[in-house]
């Protein structure tokens, strides 16, 4: 904190006092009629705009949500106990907005842009309204670039493109946030000089924590810092202790920051963790504002709540700079019920979903992605050619495996083909297991999947698959690094590389020490 020099103070005082005589401040006011539960009803404020910020006494801010015939419904961003009936409310003539700029990277802020990480104030040059209309058709183009999550199962089978909206859905404790965090951590490579050489543009990340425990948010920050991912990430925190209105606006604030990067021709990734809590917060304040409840007591516009947010994700056309905003909303289901109101809504809005299952999680398949019902509707176009080529049969093999899985317990009674399908499936499942905070670069994923789908793992015991994969990468990096180089550079898998891969893997299998 900079000290104030006495001469500075007197300069300000002089400036203020010089206008003392003539300065007449004109402002609009209203009177608080009713206050409570984070809602205030105000009489007056006749020219106020919808979603304008208004100022209450004691520095409490509010946002106008309802404009009625003779009163204004307003949500409070602060303590409602500081406000009493009859208080004067001032207009600010400013709609709710969020500061944007590169200086937000590495910081934790609340949904109004105030830093909450104790690293001092942030100087902002620009504010943008939190509610912005999504772009039209002309400004967009189809998703063309991949957004690598670093998770093999996702990048191979449920690829996500830059500008896509992919839902992460699952019960509590199934690793939804872990998938999101791994994705953020994997973007670290895109900020390196090496990535620039291969024509991969950096991805800036925004993690919006809505209704999360403050301790969880602290943990997320610590993890991201540990992996050096905070440098290109902003966390918008609306913990469970913050008032419902702040939780409600937090995803929009995050999207505004994401749009800032997008509109400047950069790439951004927004994670909304999670939208079911945001919907609950919105339900709370809608009911308090006496809007009629509908299904599951959510208000009628809860679909629009999420659709207008997710529509802001986009890939800009080249004329607009070609930036992108990828959205990864997270939804928590109760007891695997994906047909509840909010999950079905968000599923229908997004371009696909990654479904995480507690059964798989408990069986040790982590990330616990159910590839059967997880889809990506547009990402395939954005997958690099090499991955597309090797992963084609992966989904099929796994589907066949799942179909026959029930018979696995009959063991040797089965015919040869079935046994082979089962063996291959089990190895593929093993291959797609992956530790947390350990993203795998795409070229390694290609090699692993290549080995898996082309039957190279048949001889390897299921328990050894992970070790085999790790050592295979070490071996190939040493013996023929040009394979990786070629995939990374050309993003294709040409015949020459395939041959090299085949011989390389075959050589390694002979050297591999099986353990029991």
């Amino acid at each position: 904190m900079a000290e104030v020099r006495p001469d500075e103070v007197s300069a300000i005082l002089r400036k203020q006092l010089s206008g003392f005589e003539s300065e007449v401040e004109v402002y609009d006011v209203g009177t608080v009629l009713q206050v409570g539960d984070g809602i205030a009803r105000i009489y007056g404020l006749s020219e106020v705009m919808a979603s304008e910020l208004v100022e209450f006494p004691n520095g409490v801010m509010g946002m106008v949500l309802n404009l009625e015939e003779d009163s204004v419904g307003c949500v409070l961003f602060g303590e409602s106990t500081l406000i009493k009936e009859g208080d004067q409310v001032k207009r600010t003539k400013r709609v709710a907005s969020f500061p944007v700029g590169d200086q937000l990277l590495g910081r934790v802020v609340d949904p109004l842009g105030e830093p909450v990480d104790g690293k001092g104030p942030i100087e902002f040059e620009k504010y943008m309204p939190i509610e912005r209309k999504a772009l039209g058709i002309v400004e967009r183009q189809p998703v063309v670039e991949p957004l690598q999550t670093g998770i093999s199962a996702i990048d191979a089978m449920i690829p996500i493109g830059r500008g896509q909206r992919e839902l992460i859905i699952g019960d509590r404790q199934t690793g939804k946030t872990a998938v999101a965090l791994d994705t953020i951590i994997n973007q670290k490579w895109t900020h390196t000089e090496e990535a620039k050489k291969y024509g991969v543009n950096p991805v800036y990340c925004v993690y919006v924590a809505t209704g999360q425990k403050a301790s969880t948010i602290a943990q997320v920050v610590a993890k991201l810092e540990e992996h050096g991912a905070m440098e290109y990430t902003t966390i918008v925190a609306a913990p469970a202790s913050s008032p419902a209105p702040l939780q409600y606006i937090s995803p929009y604030s995050g999207a505004t920051l994401g749009e800032y990067f997008r509109d400047n021709g950069k790439h951004s990734l927004c994670i909304y963790d999670d939208l079911s809590k945001q919907a609950a917060a919105y339900r709370e304040l809608s009911l308090l504002l006496r809007r009629p409840p509908g299904r599951e007591a959510y208000p009628g516009d809860v679909f629009y709540l999420h659709s207008r947010l997710l529509e802001r994700a986009s890939k800009l056309s080249d004329e607009m700079g070609g930036g992108s905003l990828t959205a990864l909303p997270i939804i928590e289901t109760q007891q695997g019920d994906v047909s509840a109101y909010i999950p079905t809504n968000v599923i229908s809005i997004t371009d696909g979903q990654i479904y995480l299952e507690p059964n798989l999680f408990n069986a040790g398949v982590r990330p616990a992605i159910n590839v059967g019902i997880s889809v990506s509707r547009v990402g395939g176009n954005a997958q690099i050619k090499a991955m597309k080529k090797v992963a084609g049969s992966l989904k099929l093999d796994l589907a066949q495996y799942r179909e026959l899985e029930a018979f696995a317990k009959f063991g040797s009674d089965l015919d040869k083909t079935t046994q082979r399908t089962l063996a291959k499936g089990a190895r593929l499942v093993e291959l797609l297991k992956q530790g947390q905070y350990a993203p795998i670069p795409v070229e390694k994923q290609v090699v692993s999947v290549f080995a898996g789908t082309n039957g190279f793992l048949e001889e390897i015991p299921v328990g050894n698959v992970k070790r085999f994969e790790k050592e295979l990468h070490e071996y190939l990096e040493l013996k023929s690094p040009e394979i990786y180089e070629d995939i990374r550079d050309s993003k294709k898998l040409n015949d020459g590389t395939v041959e090299k891969l085949k011989t390389g893997i075959a050589d390694f299998i002979n050297k591999f020490q099986k353990s029991e």
Partner: protein, 181 residues
């Protein structure tokens, strides 16, 4: 809200009726008289809006207070409201009528707060300026509020013209705080 809608409906009805009968001026002075009486007497407001007191009694009270001062049109209107079981809304209906009339005639009511009593000359000058500014006739009420420290504050409808020392000081405080933060 219901109250607002109902009050408007009654007030507009009275206005139209008065215009039809060509007694608009008379009715509006009468209603304004009633309004002022209500504003000054909290007891009267309480009695009229109280559900415990019978309507018969209320009519008698209103008769006793107003029959000497206002014409039958206005008095009948008040009684009619009591008769219609809208006694709790009587004050808001009358207030609404005054508001609507002011809007119609282009009169704005202003509340002027000043730190010290201001002279009649100053009042006239201020009213003149406000008239210039708003383009409306100004009906001002003057109040002394020592919290302002100095200067004055005018409230017209939802607009506040704040030229008080207190406001300047709070602005100064804000500026200084934001500079040092």
């Amino acid at each position: 809200m219901l109250e607002y809608n109902v009050s408007t409906r009654y007030a507009v009805a009275l206005m139209e009726l008065a215009e039809e009968k060509k007694s608009f001026d008379q009715v509006s002075t009468d209603i304004e008289f009633v309004y002022n009486t209500f504003v000054q007497s909290k007891e009267l407001r309480n009695v009229i809006s109280s559900p415990i007191i019978e309507q018969q009694k209320k009519t008698e009270i209103l008769d006793a207070i107003f029959s000497q001062h206002i014409k039958t049109d206005a008095l009948n209107f008040i009684k009619f409201i009591i008769d219609k079981n809208r006694d709790d809304l009587l004050f808001s209906i009358i207030k609404r009528f005054v508001d609507l009339r002011d809007a119609k005639l282009g009169v704005a009511s202003a509340e002027v707060y000043s730190a010290v009593d201001i002279s009649d000359d100053q009042k006239n000058e201020l009213a003149e300026k406000l008239k210039e500014f708003t383009g409306k006739q100004i009906k001002a009420q003057y109040k002394v509020n020592e919290d302002l420290i100095g200067g004055f504050k005018v409230k017209i409808g939802d607009k506040v013209f704040d030229a008080s020392v207190a406001n300047q000081l709070s602005t100064l405080k804000k500026t200084l705080l934001s500079e040092t933060r």
